[in-house]
Amino acid sequence: MAKKSSKSPSKPRSKTASKKSSELQKVFAHVPDPSIAQKEYRQRKKSQLAMIRKTDKKLLAEMLYQMVLGRVFEQKCAEVYRIGMIGGFCHLYIGQEAIAIGSMMALKEGDYTITSYRDHVQAMVAGIAPEEVLAELYGRAGGNVKGKGGSMHMFSKEKGFFGGHGIVGGQIGVGTGMAFAQKYKDTDNVTLCFFGEAAVNQGIFHESLNMAQLWKLPIIYICENNQYGMGTAQDRAMSISNIASKGDGYGMANEFVDGMDVMAVRDAVLRACNRARKDSLPTLLEIRSYRYMGHSMSDPGKYRTSEEIKKYQERDPIALFKDSLKEAKVLGEKDFEKIEKRAQEAVEKAVRYSEESPYPDESELLTDVML
């Protein structure tokens, strides 16, 4: 990554279609290949609109709803965390919504997902009810895992959601095994395995990619590059900036994807799914994004400037998606209001449910240790 002042694309897409290339060069100074990124940037609007026109309207509305729900839910988490309703760690997803929604809503029945500790939104997209997620954060019996896991450990066997995991990179090995099992059982299902860019420096990333390509496993590794590993900027922790290219080291198909564009994410994941289902081949996707909040609720985020955060917020994935949906005449302001209201209501319901849910019974302390 280049200096902080030059690393952010600065304007919403709809206003930048005619940006001069010198300006774009500056905007994309931080990406591995500025010329490709500029081209992508110009094409983004066009391609997002084209993708939208090819996609079912109901699905698009649901995608927007899930993005808005994720945003509203996480904002509520921040609010109730501050008044002491949530203990321990709490890693929020605000700013990264396009990745979870764009990728997981491209899956089909029987596919699996596994992710890191930043797992609330992935859990909800997988189908775990917002109230179950929030009650887990409250440490209540009605929580997703009965108050035993907390923020970092949401799971649903029924929905194929293999959890949020607390050790940086640990889930990359587990996800590789999930895909191994899908192949072993001769299914055409795939595994989506999410992790942050800092996990790429762990040994398990490299060990897993090697095995996945060697044994041709149907897995899509999704590096959610939010550019900071806790407080350490990527360029202070990684000898090269192009994470997608690390797939080349294992002969693995790889792509760089704009994580602010939910349709681009969907498109890339669909391509990778196709490769996995038809040819049983893995893919590494580096999806560049940005988290607006600190690493966790205890992180004031002093390692970056408010200007930097603002620049990303100007090209917010939800705002961009709304613009495109409006331009494509798929949804309008009234629809947006309805979606916003529905999300607000779901979150309010989750709060009520969580507040009313009892603490786990003391007899739960020693259950689920072993079968």
């Binding site: 699996y112 596994i114 929580g143 997703n144 895992v145 009965k146 035993k148 896991g149 450990h153 799971f155 649903s156 066997k157 293999f162 959890g163 995991h165 607390g166 050790i167 640990g170 990359i172 090995g173 587990v174 996800g175 590789t176 095994g177 999930m178 895909a179 191994f180 099992a181 899908q182 072993y184 059982k185 040994g203 398990i204 060990e207 897993s208 090697n210 095995m211 060697l214 259950t367 689920d368 240790v369 072993m370 079968l371």
Partner: protein, 327 residues
């Protein structure tokens, strides 16, 4: 019944379980085409092929993690570590993932996996290849730890471990792979986990031994019987976790003396745990302080004489018996 080596008994257990359940597969370094570094998997790849017997790269953390994920998704992996020394590289997947998955998923995801291989010392392979790590794994709730000492136990316990719905650490001993014994050939011969076996009955002193120290203790018992007329009982817990403390306590109540013989270092060892539990449960029955025989508190040396000095031995156990019996 047939006489076979520990190695072949383990091999038979693997073969029978692969035949029995299509979800059972074996993976690890050199387990397939090379027939296993210690030949425990001999012939399995030829019989069952690439799908069921899988050679991995040297990537312990990676294939341990792969096994955990495969087990969560419904398979029953048997993951071989060429030796348990290398499992330390995979400790994150075993301890942070396999052991905790059921609990942190609120009971949704169990991990039916076996991690197996030789544990403890071999013959002059020095410090990084001679560690007995059972105390480390036994310390974490969520893992079972199994250590057989005879070919029959090895077969029955491995089969039970593969059929168990929890992660099992199954520890063999390289020095014992060639040991022979009678082994049942019934494909449903199982030894339940968590049940100790009294390997030798006696009345004057109890030795709790496991893995390599079981044959040593039996030999020491013969010597003291012959030379001093002391009757020694040898209890083999076979499963370190869950520990069959009842059988141990029952024996101590009969003999009033206890020695724990183990290959690991003594500090914070399984022997320390057993000593503590016996103190709690049978304090009034003890006629002498509990004695422990362990490997010395130093990394394993290479030189043959120093290695012998570091490890438990029949002589050391004989001396311990004399000490607790005040002979």
């Amino acid at each position: 019944m047939a006489e076979m080596t520990m190695r072949d008994a383990l091999n038979a257990a693997l073969r029978e379980e692969i035949l029995r359940d299509e979800n059972v597969f074996v993976m690890g370094e050199e387990v397939a085409e090379y027939d296993g570094a210690y030949k425990v998997t001999r012939g399995l790849w030829q019989e069952f092929g690439d799908k069921r017997v899988i050679d991995t790269p040297i990537t312990e953390l990676g294939f341990a993690g792969l096994g955990v994920g495969a087990a969560m998704a419904g398979l029953r992996p048997v993951v071989e570590f060429m030796t348990f020394n290398f499992s330390i590289l995979a400790a994150d997947q075993i301890i942070n993932h396999a052991a905790k998955m059921l609990y942190m998923s609120g009971g949704q995801f169990n991990v039916p996996i076996v991690f197996r291989g030789p544990n403890g010392s071999a013959f002059q392979v020095s410090s990084q290849h001679s560690q007995a790590l059972e105390a480390m794994y036994a310390n974490f709730p969520g893992l079972k730890v199994v250590m057989p000492s005879t070919p029959a136990d090895a077969k029955g316990l491995l089969k039970s471990s593969i059929r168990d719905d929890n992660p099992v650490i199954f520890m063999e001993q390289e020095r014992m792979y060639g040991n022979k014994g009678e082994v049942p050939d019934d494909p449903d011969f199982l030894i339940p986990l968590g049940v100790a076996d009294v390997k030798r009955e006696g009345t004057d002193c109890t030795i709790v031994a496991r893995s390599m120290t079981v044959p040593m203790s039996l030999q020491a018992a013969e010597i003291v019987e012959r030379e001093y007329g002391v009757s020694v009982e040898v209890v083999d817990p076979r499963t370190i976790k869950p520990l069959d403390i009842d059988t141990i306590v029952e024996s101590v109540k009969k003999t009033n003396r206890l020695i724990v013989a183990e290959e690991s270092h003594s500090f914070a060892s399984v022997g320390a745990e057993i000593s503590h539990q016996v103190m709690e449960l049978a304090f009034d029955h003890l006629d002498a302080p509990i004695k422990r025989i362990s490997t010395v508190e130093a990394p394993m040396p290479y030189a043959k004489n120093l290695e012998a000095l570091a490890l438990p031995s029949v002589d050391k156990i004989v001396d311990a018996i004399k000490e607790v019996c005040y002979l």
